[in-house]
């Protein structure tokens, strides 16, 4: 049914994460968790998949002695997202 849709993006949580990241310059893991209401474990797995696909950059650092994960969409991620939305729109037109 969704032959043309990117399988990396066509999943609820990954799409939610990409939609959030496309709207901001960068976001912390806690921001993504709060907005998606996902569990930390599930979110980590999906972030890793997006990272492996080259759609997002993940930087791990420390803030006030606490680990901090910052995510940022890459230009490949922007292109993939735009293509995904375009494909979705063609489905809706059909």
């Amino acid at each position: 049914m969704f032959k043309d849709l990117d399988p990396i993006l066509h999943s609820q949580l990954r799409l939610a994460v990409m939609s959030l990241l496309i709207s901001v310059k960068e976001a912390e893991f806690t921001f993504l968790k709060e907005k998606t209401n996902a569990t930390a474990g599930n979110l980590s797995v999906q972030i890793q998949k997006l990272k492996e696909a080259g759609y997002i950059d993940v930087v791990k650092k420390f803030k006030d002695n606490y680990p901090q994960t910052i995510c940022k969409v890459t230009s490949a991620g922007v292109k993939a997202f735009e293509k995904y939305v375009k494909n979705l729109q063609t489905y809706l037109v059909k």
């Binding site: 949580l13 939609s19 959030l20 310059k25 809706l92």
Partner: protein
Amino acid sequence: MEEQAQLTEKESLDLIAQMIRKAKSSFHESGTSAILWGSVVALAGLINFAEENWNFSIGFDIWLIVLAALIPQIFISVKERKNRKAIAHDSTFMNAIWLVYGISIFALLFYFNIVPWMTDREIKEAGNELLIRNIHTGSLEHFTPNIFSHFSLLLILYAIPTLATGLGFKFRPMLLGGILCYVFFVTSCFTSTKWDMGLNGLAGIFNWLVPGLILRGRYLKGKSC
């Protein structure tokens, strides 16, 4: 949110729209900095006007509170940076505008203080002196050069970042504040320094204090939801 959930094309688009809305709604400006600078400029301008109008002195230059306000501003900036979980696309640009404005204000204050003194020195070094003659008594007195209507220049500078922010974010209170600031500037070209001080105070109220209070209200409302 479950990863395995299958989405229809409409659900996908709805999810994208919902997440973009959620991300955008996270960026409510707290208004703290605007309230701080609005209050400081309003207080300084209006007290300075009152001193000139009713001939009294509070014993120190009230505009020094602008320098003092840098201390709470540093704390506010550090706290906001600490609590920030995401950075908006336009925040870097807006921060740059306000930073450049801050630098320019202090550069202009430096100019106001240095240029008259330097001009006086240069005139003296050339073996000359500027004198001012009282047309009623005919007496001549030394005249220290000054920057004429220097508060008008401050008004133009206030208008730049305020109007840019108002236009950029389509935030009507700051847009109106910026426009009003240009009106105050034109007015100040025809009024005495005393009234220019008052107009600076009013600019502080309309440019930052009122928009800051509106932003604060929105921020608190968004927080309670």
